[in-house]
C-alpha cells in the first residue's frame, strides 16, 4: 500500500524531472559516452567545430522558441536566412556593417509580414509562415540571380571564422542571443506579455495587453535572428548561397525547441533548454558520424528523441 502510494507520487516527479532536465541528462550521457569511446573527441579543435556548426541552428531555435511560446510557429526561418544571404553581397560595396544591417532589416521585414499575417489577418501561423517559406526562398533566388556568390571580405571572413580569447565569434553570438532572450522572457515585461498571449489569447486581450503588437514583435525577432544566422553561415562559407543556406533548418529549430522542453501549445518557454536541445541534436549527429555509422542512424536516433520529448510533455500536461 505504502509502496503503491509512493510510486504514484513519484511518477509525476519523474516526468517533471525529465521534462525539465531530460535534455541535460541526455547531453551528459552522450558526452560521457564520447569521452570514453570516441577518439579525438575531447580536443579543443573538435569541440570548437561542433559549437561553430551548431551556432546558426541555435540562434534560429531561440527565435523559434519565442514564436512557439506565443502559440505560433515560424516555418520561414530557413528562407529568411536565404534572403539575408542574398542581400549581403548586394550591399557589400557600402561596407560590411551596412550590408549586415540591411540583411538583418530584410529579416525583420519578413518577420513583420509573418506577424501581420498572424496578428491582423488572423491566419494560422503554420500556414502564414509556410507561405513566406516558399515566397522568400524564391525572392532570395531572384535577388541573387540564382547564383552562388563568393565573397572575399576580410571582416566578413573574420566574423565567420575568428575567435576572441579562443571562443569563436559565432559561439559568442549564440551566448549573447541566449542571454538576451532569457532576460527578455524571464525579467522584462515583454516576456510576461508573450507568455500571457501564448497561454490564453482571449484573457490577454481582456486584460488590455497589446496582443497584436506582441505577436508582430515576436515574429520580427524570429526574422532578425534567422537573418543573423544567415549572415553567420554566409560569413563562414565565404559565399552567399541562397539556394541551400538554411534549407530545412526550421525542422532542426523546432526539434531543438521541443527537445529543450518547450511545449508547442504555447504559454511556456525554456530558452536555455532550447540551446541545450540544439546542442543535443548536434552531439547525436557528431557521435554517429565519428563512429562511422550511417547518417540514417543519426536521423532515427533524433526521431526517437523527439518522440520521447513530446511524450514526456504529454504525460506532464495530463498530470
Amino acid at each position: 500500500m505504502a509502496d503503491t502510494l509512493a510510486a504514484r507520487r513519484a511518477r509525476p516527479d519523474i516526468l517533471g524531472f525529465l521534462q525539465a532536465g531530460g535534455v541535460y541528462l541526455a547531453i551528459a550521457v552522450l558526452l560521457a559516452f564520447n569521452l570514453a569511446f570516441t577518439p579525438h573527441f575531447a580536443t579543443a579543435a573538435n569541440l570548437r567545430l561542433q559549437l561553430v556548426q551548431v551556432a546558426p541552428v541555435a540562434i534560429v531555435a531561440i527565435g523559434m522558441a519565442l514564436v512557439v511560446a506565443s502559440e505560433g510557429i515560424d516555418l520561414s526561418v530557413g528562407s529568411t536566412m536565404a534572403i539575408s544571404a542574398a542581400v549581403l553581397p548586394l550591399y557589400l560595396g557600402y561596407g560590411v556593417w551596412p550590408a549586415v544591417a540591411i540583411a538583418l532589416l530584410a529579416g525583420a521585414a519578413v518577420g513583420a509580414v509573418n506577424g501581420s499575417l498572424v496578428a491582423f489577418a488572423r491566419m494560422q501561423p503554420i500556414i502564414a509562415t509556410l507561405g513566406t517559406l516558399v515566397a522568400c526562398r524564391g525572392l532570395a533566388l531572384v535577388l541573387a540571380d540564382g547564383r552562388l556568390t563568393e565573397m572575399f571580405d576580410p571582416v566578413l571572413g573574420a566574423l565567420g571564422n575568428d575567435a576572441v580569447l579562443g571562443v569563436p565569434i559565432s559561439v559568442l553570438l549564440v551566448l549573447v542571443v541566449t542571454g538576451a532572450a532569457a532576460v527578455a522572457v524571464h525579467r522584462a515585461a515583454f516576456g510576461r506579455r508573450l507568455l500571457a498571449v501564448g497561454g490564453n489569447h482571449a484573457a490577454a486581450a481582456l486584460a488590455g495587453l497589446p496582443v497584436k503588437r506582441t505577436l508582430v514583435t515576436v515574429y520580427v525577432v524570429s526574422g532578425v535572428l534567422a537573418a543573423t544566422a544567415g549572415v553567420l553561415s554566409t560569413a563562414r562559407q565565404g559565399a552567399s548561397d541562397p539556394s541551400f543556406v538554411g534549407l530545412l533548418i526550421e525542422l532542426s529549430a523546432i526539434t531543438a525547441v521541443v527537445v529543450g522542453g518547450t511545449p508547442l501549445s504555447g504559454g511556456r518557454v525554456r530558452i536555455v533548454g532550447t540551446l541545450m536541445g540544439a546542442l543535443l541534436m548536434q552531439l547525436i549527429t557528431a557521435t554517429v558520424i565519428q563512429h562511422d555509422l550511417p547518417d540514417s542512424a543519426a536521423r532515427m536516433l533524433q526521431a526517437g528523441i523527439i518522440i520521447a520529448a513530446v511524450y514526456v510533455q504529454r504525460g506532464r500536461s495530463r498530470a
Binding site: A188, R192, R193, A196, N200, A202, A203, A205, G208, L209
Partner: protein
C-alpha cells in the same frame, strides 16, 4: 393515441460521477412541435444527444416509433430518420447549394458520374417547396445564415426524416430569417414530422410550439401544452422559482444596509448622483445586441438580468470594448470615448471579470502572481522591466485582502479551486483601482464560502464608491446585490427596476412580457434569394 415518434423513458446519464440527467421522460408525437427549454446546465444538450445517438443512456431507454433503440452512432440515427439541425450550420460552405443538399448521395448517370443537371433541377424543386428561390449553383457560404439554416433543414427533410431535432436554430439569425425558418417548422408539422425545438426564446415557444418540456438541473420539471401555461409560469419554472412565494431575502451575503441605502437614494433622487462614471448608448451588435443603453454611477450596483441568450454577456463585453460594435457609444465621466477597447477601458478606470473564467480569464500556466498583475503590467513597467517590489506589494496586498488560498504567489493558477481563481481575477482588476467593475457571473461554479465572500466584497466596494455592473443568471443575486436592475431580452433592455420594484417576481414578469403587445407582427415570408 398515436405511437410517439420518440419516447424517452426515464433516462439517466452521468459523466464522471456528475449527474447530467436523472429519470427524464419525453414523448414526441408526429406532427407536433415540442419545445425543450431550460437554463444552462439543465441537461438539454445531453437529452438531445441521447435522442440523436451521440450518447447512450446509463439508465432508462429511448424508443423510436415504438421500438427500443440504441444507436451506436449519430449516423445510424440519421439513417433511421432522426435528423438534427445544429446551432451552427453543419454544411460545407465552399460547395454549391445543390451540392450541399445532395452531399454524400449525389445522383449519378449511367457512367457513375455525378449528374449535375439533375441534381440542380431537383434541388431547385425541393427548395421551391419551402419558398426559397436561390441560385442552387452558388456557394453556400455566400448566402445569409438564415438561408443556410433553411438549406440544412431542407437537406434533413429530403432524407425522409420522421424526427427533426433543432438546437437553437435561430440563435444567429436576423428577425426576417427567423420568420422564414418558423414557416418551415410549421410546414414540417403539417407533414407530420415530429419536431423537438430547443430554444431560449420564449417568443418562439409561444409562436410555434405545441407542447413544452422544461428541464432544470438534469430533471424534468414540467411538460404540457403551451396553451396551458403563461410566460411568467414558464420563466419561473425554468429558474426554479415559485411565483407565489418568492423570498425577498435569501441566502446571499450582500450587506443589507448598502443595498437599502442605494435603493433609498435611487428612489429618492431619480437620477442618482449627477454624471454617471460609465455610460453606454445604443450598443448594437447584430444579431445579439440591439441598442442597449445603460449607465453606472459611483457607488452604485446595477444589476443586469435576463435569460440565457438575452445578451447579458454580450452587453458586458460591448461595454468593456471587447467586441466590435455595429453602433453605439461609450462615455466615461460624460466624455465620449473615441477608440474603445479593453486597454482603453482599463485606462479609463473600467474593469471586467469575464463570465468564462477558464477560456477568457485565467492564464493557467502562469503563476498567481503573474495572473494578478497582468492588467497592471503597463503601470508597473519602467524601461521594459517590471518593478518586482511594486509587483510583490500588490500581490501580497490582494492575496491577503481577498483571502486567496495559495501555497505561494508562485503557484500556478491552474492548480487553484474555482473560487480562488475567481478571486485572482477580481484581484487582477481591483489592483488597477477601477471606478467601475463589470462582473459577469462572478459567483458561478464556485464553492459556497467563496461565493459569500465575493458577494460581501461587492457590497463593501460599492460602499467605498466603486460602481458595479453585476450580471448574474441567479435572480436572487441580482435582486439582493443590486440597487437598480436592467432586464434584457433578445439583446435589448426591456425594463429597468429600481427601489422596491426590484424583486424576483417583478424581473420575471418583465422577462415574460411579450415584445410589444403580444405576438410580434409576422412579416410575410415572401420567396426571395440569398441575403
Amino acid at each position: 393515441m398515436t405511437t410517439p415518434a420518440i419516447d424517452v423513458r426515464s433516462v439517466s446519464k452521468h459523466f464522471a460521477g456528475v449527474r447530467a440527467l436523472t429519470g427524464v421522460c419525453l414523448d414526441l408525437r408526429p406532427g407536433e412541435v415540442h419545445a425543450l427549454v431550460g437554463e444552462n446546465g439543465a441537461g438539454k444538450s445531453t437529452l438531445i444527444k441521447l435522442v440523436t445517438g451521440v450518447y447512450r443512456p446509463d439508465g432508462g431507454e429511448v424508443r423510436y416509433l415504438g421500438e427500443p433503440v440504441a444507436f451506436a452512432h449519430p449516423r445510424d440515427a440519421q439513417a433511421a430518420g432522426i435528423s438534427t439541425i445544429y446551432q451552427e450550420v453543419n454544411l460545407v460552405p465552399m460547395r454549391s447549394v445543390a451540392g450541399n443538399l445532395y452531399l454524400g448521395r449525389e445522383p449519378t448517370n449511367r457512367l457513375g458520374l455525378i449528374d449535375f443537371r439533375r441534381m440542380r433541377r431537383d434541388a431547385r424543386t425541393i427548395l421551391a417547396g419551402y419558398g426559397i428561390t436561390v441560385d442552387v449553383r452558388r456557394r453556400l457560404g455566400e448566402l445569409g445564415l438564415g438561408v443556410q439554416q433553411m438549406i440544412a433543414v431542407a437537406r434533413a427533410l429530403s432524407t425522409d426524416a420522421r424526427v427533426v431535432v433543432m438546437d437553437e436554430p435561430t440563435s444567429s439569425l436576423e428577425p426576417r430569417e427567423v420568420d422564414l425558418l418558423l414557416d418551415v417548422v410549421a410546414l414540417l408539422r403539417r407533414r407530420q414530422v415530429a419536431v423537438l425545438y430547443v430554444t431560449h426564446k420564449l417568443d418562439e415557444v409561444f409562436r410555434i410550439c405545441d407542447r413544452v418540456t422544461v428541464l432544470r438541473d438534469g430533471r424534468l420539471v414540467h411538460t404540457g401544452p403551451v396553451a396551458g401555461t403563461t410566460r411568467l409560469r414558464l420563466v419561473a419554472t425554468m429558474l426554479g422559482r415559485d411565483t407565489d412565494q418568492i423570498r425577498r431575502h435569501g441566502t446571499t451575503t450582500f450587506s443589507d444596509p448598502a443595498v437599502s441605502d442605494q435603493r433609498g437614494r435611487t428612489t429618492g433622487i431619480p437620477e442618482a448622483t449627477g454624471t454617471p462614471v460609465l455610460r453606454a448608448d445604443g450598443l448594437t451588435r447584430r444579431p445579439v445586441l440591439d441598442g442597449v443603453s445603460l449607465d453606472v454611477h459611483a457607488g452604485e450596483v446595477v444589476g443586469l438580468a435576463g435569460l440565457l441568450g438575452s445578451g447579458r454577456t454580450e452587453t458586458a463585453k460591448a461595454v468593456f470594448g471587447a467586441d466590435r460594435l455595429d453602433a453605439g457609444a461609450i462615455s466615461v465621466d460624460g466624455a465620449r470615448a473615441r477608440r474603445w477597447n479593453p486597454a482603453a477601458a482599463i485606462r479609463g478606470g473600467i474593469g471586467m471579470v469575464p463570465e468564462d473564467r477558464k477560456a477568457e480569464g485565467i492564464i493557467g500556466d502562469l503563476s498567481v502572481r503573474d495572473n494578478i498583475v497582468l492588467a497592471a503590467l503597463p503601470r508597473l513597467t519602467t524601461a521594459g522591466f517590471v518593478s518586482r517590489r511594486r509587483q510583490d506589494e500588490i500581490v501580497d496586498t490582494f492575496v491577503r485582502r481577498l483571502r486567496v488560498k495559495v501555497s505561494s504567489p508562485g503557484q500556478r493558477v491552474r492548480e487553484l479551486s474555482g473560487g480562488n481563481q475567481q478571486k485572482v481575477l477580481l484581484a487582477r482588476m481591483l489592483c488597477l483601482s477601477p471606478r467601475v467593475l463589470i462582473l459577469d457571473e462572478p459567483t458561478r461554479g464556485i464553492d459556497v464560502g467563496a461565493k459569500a465572500e465575493i458577494q460581501s466584497l461587492i457590497s463593501e466596494l460599492a460602499a467605498l464608491g466603486l460602481g458595479v455592473l453585476l450580471i448574474s443568471s441567479e435572480l436572487e443575486e441580482v435582486v439582493e446585490g443590486a440597487g437598480r436592475v436592467l432586464v434584457l431580452r433578445d439583446g435589448a433592455v426591456v425594463g429597468m427596476l429600481r427601489g422596491d420594484d426590484v424583486s424576483e417576481d417583478h424581473i420575471m414578469r418583465v422577462i415574460a412580457q411579450a415584445s410589444g403587445d403580444g405576438r410580434p407582427p409576422r412579416a410575410p415570408a415572401a420567396p426571395r434569394g440569398g441575403l
